[in-house]
């Protein structure tokens, strides 16, 4: 089917791009068609496994969970398909000790830059009675919320004192720090407090954890599109082959998710493993090579702790020794837990860890929408707008429309 035409006029091109996004966002006809195909596959499986078979597909991105809940994707699917949110929110898994360090620095008069997401992120142990950067600012600490690292760079170069950037994020965010770092764009009075984490190792951990706890296994991976824009499809291909379950790298519009679910079903039907890319308009097989090089030059991959989970092998990024004059840990002599000294940093009674690993739903937590809500979050999953609890609280993922 020949549909592609060469478009040269920029106005047409502009329209075209807007339309493409809007087709993927709200073309109900195609959505209906894909839904029919999903049901067709489910019928095929039902003939073999019986009507009550279940497939569990896990996503690893807060934005996927947002799309799923906001557009009611779960209500479009047959009951045989369960969509579960895995570890996909960097704020939710940022260990408490990093927040404590940032709070401590801000109260000592060092300016702390952060993304809005992490502003309210609570620490488990209060520092001088202060639990989060938001509280630190209310107590006179120097905390500035920025939209991007670039904005912080500009701000810091006009600032006389020292400043620290609480560098939260996954692979998607990492080049934003790495490129300025290796190109000497960071002012001398600014330091990086790296909370950077890598997604595939955590995905593997979450999938294996379901097995370790004898919970229903994960049957398919809905891999994060924007992480893969940087990493490419390779890491997901390796993971998929190692675990023997299919992976589809998905975009973030409702049609993207439906197409990815359909592709997972097709792959299971054909006994295929490996990664397929649904989000081909953004993700290439090799990823963003320039960014990967920059990340490689700026950071070391190390074993890192995740909040409530503990150390995951080769899952974090640490500023390389050559750039240690930009590493807030080294410059300010901050403490870091080791594997032996790490203690669980989840709040007692909070189910965030299980929610992050896809082992529980927000509604399974006794605090959910009782003492823990988006305006007064208790656990980290309720803090970030990409946290599963926050998404369910705001858009009603807890309602089962079918029953």
């Amino acid at each position: 089917m020949e549909v592609s035409k060469t478009l040269t006029n920029s106005n047409i091109q502009r329209k075209f791009n807007v339309e493409i996004e809007s087709i993927y966002r709200r073309d109900r006809r195609i959505a209906g068609e894909i839904r029919v195909l999903i049901h067709k596959y489910v019928d095929k499986f039902a003939k073999i496994h019986g009507r009550s078979f279940k497939f569990k597909f896990m996503n690893f991105c807060g934005t996927h969970e947002w799309t799923t809940v906001h557009y009611g994707i779960r209500s479009l699917l047959p009951e045989n398909i369960e969509l579960v949110a895995g570890p996909g929110c960097p704020v939710c898994i940022t260990p408490s000790f990093l927040v404590e360090n940032a709070v401590k620095l801000s109260l000592e008069g060092i300016r702390v830059y952060t993304f809005g997401d992490a502003f309210k992120l609570p620490a488990v142990e209060p520092v001088k009675g202060v639990r989060s950067l938001a509280e630190a600012r209310a107590s006179g600490g120097d905390v500035v919320v920025v939209y991007s690292f670039l904005d912080a760079l500009k701000e810091a170069s006009n600032h006389r004192g020292d400043s620290v950037f609480l560098a939260i994020g996954f692979e998607t965010t990492a080049p934003g720090y790495a490129i300025p770092l290796i190109n000497n764009l960071i002012p001398k009075n600014m330091y990086i407090l790296s909370a950077l984490r890598l997604t595939p190792p955590a995905a593997e951990y979450a999938i294996m954890e379901a097995k370790r706890r004898s919970m229903p296994p994960v049957d398919g991976i809905i891999a994060p599109g924007h992480v893969s824009a940087i990493t490419g499809a390779k890491p997901w291909d390796d993971l998929s082959k190692r675990l023997g379950i299919p992976a589809v790298i998905s975009g973030f519009e409702p049609l993207d998710l439906l197409l990815s679910i359909l592709e997972l079903l097709r792959m299971i039907w054909k006994n295929e493993v490996g990664a397929r890319v649904e989000y081909r308009r953004v993700v290439s097989w090799d990823g963003n090579i320039e960014s990967l090089k920059a990340i490689d030059a700026a950071f070391d991959v190390v074993d890192s702790p995740w909040r409530g989970i503990g150390f995951i092998e080769k899952s974090g990024l640490e500023v390389k020794d050559v750039y240690s004059h930009y590493d807030a840990f080294k410059v300010f002599g901050l403490d870091k837990p080791s594997k032996t000294s790490w203690t669980n940093d989840s709040f007692s009674g909070c189910k965030c860890t299980e929610v992050i690993l896809g082992l529980a739903k927000p509604v399974d937590c006794k605090f959910f929408l009782k003492v823990c809500n988006p305006s007064r979050p208790l656990g980290p999953c309720m803090v970030s707008s990409e946290g599963t609890c926050s998404i369910w609280a705001r858009f009603g993922g807890h309602l089962n429309l079918k029953s």
Binding site: M1, L37, C61, G62, D151, V282, S291
Partner: protein, 101 residues
């Protein structure tokens, strides 16, 4: 957190670009993509342009899905040509919608 928004490149410097998110919102972002040109569409995440958007690929994905739909319809015993015709019309409507000015 890995929220990405498509935007159009208006101006380029060595490491920075001015991009248009539509609706009158323009911002300076860091460039993490090679061979970027003015007029390209990019995905912007946390103030960093992380990838180009390739519109042709978006249509190819839909086409691939249509092929799958035809295959399944064939298994159901429907006339292949009818089904193909139906999807051809659907696709030309879509590409038509994306071509008009």
């Amino acid at each position: 957190m890995c929220w990405g928004v498509p935007a159009r490149v208006l101006k380029l410097e060595e490491f920075k670009a001015l991009v248009d998110f539509g609706g009158g919102i323009e911002r300076e972002v860091l460039v993490a993509v090679e061979d970027l040109k003015v007029g390209d569409y990019v995905i912007v995440h946390a103030g960093v342009a992380i990838s180009k958007v390739d519109k042709e690929e978006a249509l190819k994905v839909l086409e691939a899905y249509m092929d799958m739909a035809v295959q399944l319809a064939k298994e159901d015993g429907l006339n292949e040509e009818d089904v193909k015709q139906y999807y051809r019309e659907l696709m030309s409507e879509i590409s038509g919608a994306t071509n008009h000015e």
